[in-house]
């Protein structure tokens, strides 16, 4: 991808003396992970098309501490939280959007008690609002129309925060055939990455969780597995590879599906 994205930073906005409408919290995965960076760019593309007045923290952003907290390191989590909150409050941030459900959950639920109060949205909720306001539209004949897509609910978006419909509304607007897995919404099976599992080898068992979850997805015979979380994306992509289905099944973030429909 070489197209030029407009990505203002909060520091630039401050220098220009303006306050952006919303802060895009990129998250560590979205900043550094090669696969997740594509999701980040896809989401920014949508923001650009919709002319959203946003900014990122850029090099001033730091890990939310979610993964440290869930690994049991409350000290590290709170150090990260307090540092981030100082930066966010210094920029008088009111509204945050993020493409990572883990950042979403931590910013939304765990920062307020530590002094960070923001209106936090997941990117699927945010894009949904843009659609409803007519700020982005799906191009006439959607390339995806008629494709079978199944949506894997990220635990930290679904069960953790009860957001089930925003991602599904977006998929439906693409004119795809949305097929549900047998375990979906509040009974969705985890991809296996949460709770710091992303960063370690699994304990001894008879199967990997992402493979089991991929089997759930394959049962629906999809063309595409849609996700809304960079970690789920990695796990499902690996699962599809383990099942040797990467030639016929794509794993894509909803932001990518929407961004692709804009071409």
């Amino acid at each position: 991808m070489s197209e030029q994205l407009k990505v203002p930073t909060m520091a630039q906005c401050m220098a220009e003396g303006r306050q952006p409408e919303v802060l895009f919290w990129v998250g560590s995965a979205g900043s550094y992970d090669d696969r997740a960076k594509k999701i980040t760019r896809a989401f920014v593309k949508i923001l650009n098309i919709a002319n959203v007045d946003f900014a990122v923290l850029g090099t001033e952003e730091s890990c939310t501490g979610d993964v440290a907290k869930r690994a049991g390191n409350e000290f590290l989590f709170q150090m990260q939280a307090v540092t981030n909150i100082e930066v966010l409050n210094a920029y008088q941030v009111k509204r945050v959007v993020t493409a990572c459900p883990h950042s979403y959950n931590t910013l939304k639920n765990e920062y307020p008690e530590l002094g960070g109060n923001y209106q936090v949205q997941h990117h699927t909720e945010f894009i949904n609002e843009l659609m409803k306001d007519g700020r982005i539209k799906i191009g006439g004949a959607s390339k995806l129309s008629g494709k079978r897509i199944t949506f894997h609910d990220p635990c930290y978006l679904g069960r953790a925060n009860g957001v089930y419909e925003a991602p599904r509304d977006l998929l439906k607007s693409l004119g795809v055939e949305l097929v549900e897995m047998k375990r979906s919404k509040n009974t969705a099976l985890c991809c296996g990455a949460g709770g710091a599992q992303m960063f370690k080898e699994p304990e001894k068992g008879d199967k990997d969780i992402n493979v089991l979850r991929t089997e759930d997805a394959l049962e629906t015979q999809p063309n595409i597995i849609a996700t809304g979380c960079p970690y789920c994306n990695t796990m499902m992509t690996d699962g599809v590879k383990a099942k040797e289905k990467e030639a016929s099944i794509q794993v894509l973030d909803i932001a990518e599906l929407i961004a692709n429909s804009q071409e």
Binding site: Y32, K37, T59, G72, E74, F75, L76, C190, A196, E203
Partner: protein, 437 residues
């Protein structure tokens, strides 16, 4: 007049209720061994949760078959207990079916008719439960933690209920006066003929025997609760009231850590200053939990409430893929250890004597704790608002903050966050590179 039966009945009642009260006191004492936690907020939401989840069984019916059968047994249990009131009055005062003398025949007949139908339905449901557990062998009842006592306990409860319902129906069937009223004997009229060959006095003896064994059985069952997973019939109510009301993804922020972090971040703090006089040392004895006393009392209440149904474990991604973690086992271990601590206190004149054991290691292995993905499937699945995840997190906190005993890859990840603000070893100055790639 012969008062011996009345006196015997009163003695049985006092013994039964007295022993139960003694164990309830012990139960409350054990739960209070937990750390204090403020759950005085959102009263109306909490009442609503209790009404919906415990009283209304809203989460039980998520699994329709077991949910429906459970509702039958639950409704039967609650309503048939009205009859126990009559039995107690009769027993104490030597009356016979006292309600039939004060209530109009039609109403009394209607009530007993309802009880009989429910008793029959409970009987059938309990048989189906037994078949599901022992013949069909539904997987979640046969996991590794469901051997020995937990397995027998489950069956004993079912046998108890079968016997009590049978006795209730036999008692009505052999009550010749009640049968002659022919009102309310909806089920027992079909049982009555089985005894028709016997003399009137034999039938009367059977009726008396059924009546006595039934009420004594209820008293025994009441006292069985404390030792059994069946305690949920009482504790489901407080447990759903005190259950988590925040979004499931929200973990509590440790206050002691917040104070520490604030001090570290405040440039005006003198790190060598002696604590101000009169200020209590706010640091806890330890961070996280290695034993039951480190958990909150709500978490201990959770442990006593668990009825080992295994819905949590059957939805746990770690357990489904053969890992050692079972959220149900976390709850069972917590209760077993709490009981052990309670007995230790009883044996040592009210003081806990170090027994060289703890919940972590002796009951729950680190391998179980590290297998958790914090996905909240167990919390979502629990029909009575138990939160196994919160215990797992508390124990991880102990492992990491007190013992630095995290898996090595996680230590690397945390070092990365400390050094460069990301779980991977990338330079913070490269955070925006994606913009131009």
């Amino acid at each position: 007049m012969n008062y011996i039966p009345n006196i015997l009945f009163a003695l049985a009642l006092i013994a039964g209720l007295g022993y139960f009260a003694k164990n309830v006191k012990k139960l409350i004492r054990n739960i209070k061994l937990g750390q204090d936690v403020d759950v005085s907020d959102n009263k109306s939401l909490r009442w609503k949760n209790m009404a919906r989840i415990a009283l209304g069984q809203s989460k039980m019916v998520k699994r329709p078959v077991s949910g429906f059968l459970h509702v039958v047994v639950y409704v039967g249990f609650v309503i048939i207990n009205i009859e126990v009131l009559e039995i107690i009055i009769d027993g104490l005062f030597g009356t016979h079916r006292i309600f039939s003398t004060v209530l109009p025949d039609a109403i009394y007949g209607f009530l007993i008719g309802c009880f009989e139908i429910l008793a029959f339905l409970v009987f059938i449901s309990v048989i189906v439960f037994w078949i599901r557990r022992n013949i069909i062998k539904i997987q979640r009842f046969w996991k590794s933690e469901m051997t020995a006592w937990p397995k027998n306990d489950a069956n004993y409860i079912l046998y108890f209920e079968m016997v009590l319902m049978t006795l209730f129906l036999v008692m009505n069937a052999t009550d010749l006066h009640f049968q002659s009223m022919d009102s309310g004997n909806i089920i027992s009229q079909y049982i009555a003929p089985w005894f028709s060959g016997l003399s009137e006095s034999s039938i009367h003896i059977i009726e008396r025997a059924a009546w006595w064994i039934h009420i004594l059985g209820i008293l025994v069952f009441l006292n069985y609760l404390y030792f059994s997973k069946h305690l949920h019939i009482l504790l489901a109510f407080p447990n759903t009231y005190y259950g988590k009301i925040n979004p499931k993804g929200q973990l509590n922020n440790l206050e002691a850590v917040t104070n520490e972090v604030k001090m570290m971040m405040d440039p005006n703090v003198d790190p060598f200053a002696a604590p101000a006089e009169g200020v209590e040392n706010v640091m806890p004895a330890k961070f996280g939990a290695s034993d039951v006393q480190d958990l909150s009392w709500v978490q201990l209440l959770n442990a006593y409430t668990c009825t080992e149904c295994g819905r949590c474990t059957s939805e746990c991604p770690a357990n489904l893929t053969g890992k050692k973690l079972s959220p149900r086992k976390i709850m069972m271990d917590t209760r077993d250890r709490l009981e052990e601590v309670g007995k230790n206190i009883d044996a040592n004149n009210g003081e806990f004597k170090d027994d060289g054991k703890q919940l972590l290691g002796d009951y729950i292995a680190p391998e179980e704790l590290w297998a958790c993905t914090t996905c909240n499937a167990c919390v979502e699945a629990c029909p009575v608002s138990i939160d196994p995840l919160s215990i797992i997190i508390e124990m991880r906190r102990y492992l990491v903050m007190e013992q630095s005993a995290a898996p090595v890859e996680l230590n690397n990840m945390m070092t990365n966050i400390e050094n460069n603000g990301a779980p991977w070893p990338y330079n913070q100055m490269d955070r925006l590179n994606w913009k131009d790639e």
